[in-house]
Subunit: 235 residues, 2 copies
């Protein structure tokens, strides 16, 4: 069943999904820094600062997905979720998302070394990302999976961002945008799976409230990262 | 380089590897329960009890490997280590080690249901296995990897066990032994990788002592599991 197949879904699934989706209003596509980015108003230095700081998040994605794997006793779940780690770390045939982000970094004029050693990463970004990893390590699997549902909102932002880069930031080589292009199809596939799990697992009011709170927490993480980047690179 | 390539290995590697290998004397192949198993002296009930209890360990292997992934910031490391999770959880083309253990369980006369719900798992086994998972979640990556080095000692035990099953426990269908056969080649491959990492990462006396202690801890885990099984199924 898909999450939205109401013929077999648990009672109240539609309202629950609506409550999850309502978090879209708190998603970081509305953050002033992203609004300026998508209007083409950021300087090269601001774009670089964003890319270098956001790398800490990219680095930590496999750590949080491995933490989720480590907390879920269901092999069936793990067999699918592990694809997220492979997507980011790469395989023999695919360099993966972390490598794609490093290529973006090079395309905006940063060296791989200065991105990898995280010298530009500001404390607020580190605290927010690390809070997210800790959340996935310490919370029940259902909440950790629910926190990933910001991917429900990601494709629209990713499309806008791609258009903005192609239009306003033409100094960035198109090949550097591969990470964003890959996420256009990865994010909907992943969020559909996560939504299916969360609607199956969370059936009581309490479980559903905690799932919505987890997603809300994740919106705070993303927003807080941009607050810190905005402060560090005022333009 | 391989771990034993002394031309490039860090100073003292040979002694360090010897100290690690010395833990073989504490490995559970010497446990009275295993000695009796390999002499063909266990009853069907004892074999079943062992298979059902050991399933808790099998279930937790991917959880501990995911915990190790989650604690290691090096994508290169993770790209290889993730193969252990795939080996146990399975992929589209390979049913994996947990499934192979369930088939062993069926071959010894247990139902998948009674193994999966862990109704036969005794507290001592649960405590030991869960201590191992907690160890990998909370200790530095190098120690967690070092704790996996019991696989250095596993192939000999596995060969003896296979011979014992084929000779003494002929009531167990040969197909049920696939798990053991797979480990004959998986364990040396995995332990070679782990040994290479541990000798590269652990260069100070303190780091090396902690690696040896981690392996010693893991020997205690395996031994303690057999103590508990031995008590629960006195024959």
């Amino acid at each position: 069943m898909t999450a939205l197949d109401e013929t077999q879904a648990p009672a109240g699934t539609e309202e629950f999904v609506a409550a999850l989706r309502a978090n879209a209003r708190r998603y970081h596509h509305q953050h002033p820094f992203h609004l300026r980015m998508n209007r083409g108003e950021l300087s090269r230095e601001q774009i670089r600062g964003w890319v270098a700081n956001r790398f800490h998040y990219q680095q930590c994605i496999p750590l949080k997905d491995a933490a989720i794997l480590s907390n879920c006793p269901d092999p069936e779940f793990r067999r699918r979720w592990i694809g997220r780690i492979l997507d980011h770390d790469g395989t023999a045939s695919d360099p993966g998302g972390i490598e794609a982000w490093l290529r973006l970094a090079e395309a905006v004029g940063l060296s791989r070394a200065e991105v990898r050693d995280e010298r530009h990463v500001v404390p607020g970004v580190r605290f927010a990302v690390d809070a997210y990893v800790t959340f996935t390590r310490t919370r029940p699997c259902a909440e950790a999976v629910a926190s990933s549902l910001t991917e429900l909102f990601a494709p629209d932002l990713m499309s806008e961002r791609l258009a903005a880069f192609e239009r306003y930031y033409t100094w960035v080589e198109g090949e550097g945008l591969t990470y964003f292009r890959n996420r256009l199809h990865q994010a909907p596939r992943d969020s559909e799976h996560a939504l299916q799990l969360v609607t199956e697992w969370c059936r009581s009011d309490d479980q559903r409230e905690r799932a919505v709170a987890a997603l809300s927490f994740k919106c705070d993480v993303l927003w807080s990262m941009l607050d810190a980047i905005d402060q560090a690179y005022p333009g």
